[in-house]
Amino acid sequence: MATAYDIAMKHTEPEKDSGAPVVAVEDVRKSFADHMVLDGINLRVTRGETLAVLGRSGTGKSVLLRLIIGLEKPDSGSIRIHDQDIAGLPMDRLGEIRKKMGFLFQHAALYDSLTVAENVAFPLEHHRRDMSRSERADRVKQLLAEVGMEGDVDKMPSDISGGMQKRVGLARALALEPEILLLDEPTAGLDPISSGEIDDLILKLQRERRMASIVVTHDLHSAKTIANRLALLDQGKVVIEGSFEDLQQSNIAFVKEFLKQS
């Protein structure tokens, strides 16, 4: 009987293109106050592919996403988005690249003084001034309907649950039709049912939009469901990268221990 992972693999096989990566992390190092967090990371993600980055808490997974979106700068190495190194770009030029990326923060990071609809409309109001007010409103409704939040448009973030906040955060991340989607612990803090719903939502969006996605998670079950490839970090390095079967067949002690405990 096909597992959820099998279904995911069937529906999210990467498009066969020239193989040019949309996101390329090359020999990146990052430390904070003498503590080395990332120590020579190499990763590539192509269009239509979902890479899950796994590891123990505190191994630099979220830092990796922050480096890719440009919220942190690497100490050395390069991060290329569509073959352009973003590390040294000034903020306004980096902004042009960020418009092609959507980021879901671990705790959604919704603007607490705005309603659900205003949160989703926020990127559109700043970057799609060519759209009329009614066009923006329609687009917001469509995005909220995609994530199942169309009935909560006028609620404030404090009035909705953590899972609902993540859905709204996801809708906001998709507002500008990004080519790259970065998700930081999308199921962290959620109950199993809500986690499953978020996984299904991500899978559905991937099928429809074929973005290059990087999901940071410590949830192996979630990673198996939504990702084509998995990369396991330990002590700042990628210990193994491949399919779930590759991880299961690995003889590396840390990999075996991680799978056993998950």
């Binding site: 903020m91 980021f103 603007y111």
Partner: protein
């Protein structure tokens, strides 16, 4: 390695020596640390100011957010500033009437009140009240956004947070302080006249004519518009303290407190400098 010197105190009994260790911070190390922090703070706020200036002067401009902040800073502070202006003026009125009567100069009362309110009390009082209300509000709001990653979300959405969050608030403070000062002055003069009129009948027209007799625009405009500098100080310090916050709820509280304390301190220091400057440029 310990930061502190160890001082060993020997017991007085010759047969049973007792050693007690007492840590006393090195005064030199303390002064060195504080000096370092002092210059670091100025360096960081200098870099922050440059980033805000660059962002604020390049399009796209955040007009909607600016209007929202003008409302937040201006209309929300107006009742408090007007009330404070009225209260201070009543106090000045009572004290001035008593002092001037002692020296037989009661006829100078309107002029004394007008010059006291407009040149001295109105500007500094408005600056300190807005430091407290707006400075704490901006510091806490931006600090809360920082610790909940909302500022990171703004930046990840390809929007410059220096332009959207800082430049708009600072400009709103610069524009609204002179207007709030005028409101405080107007409220102060009205209440000062009422306080006087209750003791000795005097029409408002007579009061104003007498108070402004022989004065020039340069007596009153510079003290009012110097409050734009106060607005710059309050907005800049509050935004800086808020956007560099770390440490959760404690950090938010610290940012709000530091915003008020530092903004108030620098407003007072700026007042000293600006008064001297005005006296030199507009003798």
């Amino acid at each position: 390695m310990s930061d502190h010197k160890q001082i060993v105190v020997a017991g007085i009994h010759p047969l049973i020596p007792v050693q007690r260790s007492v840590s006393i911070p090195s005064a030199l190390e303390f002064v060195g640390r504080m000096t370092n922090r002092f210059f670091e703070w100025f360096g960081e706020i200098g870099i922050f100011s440059w980033n805000v200036l660059k962002a604020g002067l390049t399009p796209p401009y955040e007009w909607r957010e600016l209007v929202r902040q003008l409302d937040e800073v201006g209309s929300m502070s107006l009742p408090l500033v007007a009330a404070a202006g009225a209260a201070i003026s009543v106090v000045i009125s009572m004290e001035a009437r008593y002092s001037l009567s002692r020296f037989g100069a009661k006829s100078m009362f309107p002029t004394t009140l007008v010059y006291s309110v407009i040149q001295v009390m109105g500007p500094i009082m408005t600056g300190l009240i807005v430091s407290g209300r707006v400075g704490a509000g901006i510091g806490a709001e931006l600090a809360s956004m920082k610790v909940t990653e909302q500022i990171d979300a703004v930046e990840a959405s390809a929007i410059n947070p220096y332009r959207l969050l800082a430049a708009t608030r600072i400009l709103a403070c610069i524009l609204m302080l002179p207007l709030l000062t005028l409101a405080a002055d107007a409220s102060g003069l009205l209440m000062g006249w009422l306080a006087q009129a209750m003791v000795e009948p005097l029409s408002f027209h007579q009061f104003i004519a007498s108070g402004f007799k022989g004065s020039k625009l340069s007596d009153f405009l510079p003290p009012t518009f110097k409050t734009a500098v106060y607005g710059l100080i309050i907005g800049l310090i509050a935004c800086f303290q808020g956007m560099r916050t770390r440490g959760g709820a404690e950090g938010v509280g610290r940012a709000a407190t530091n915003s008020v304390v530092l903004a108030s301190l620098f407003v007072i220091l700026a007042d000293v400098v600006l008064v001297k400057f005005i006296l030199v440029v507009f003798p």
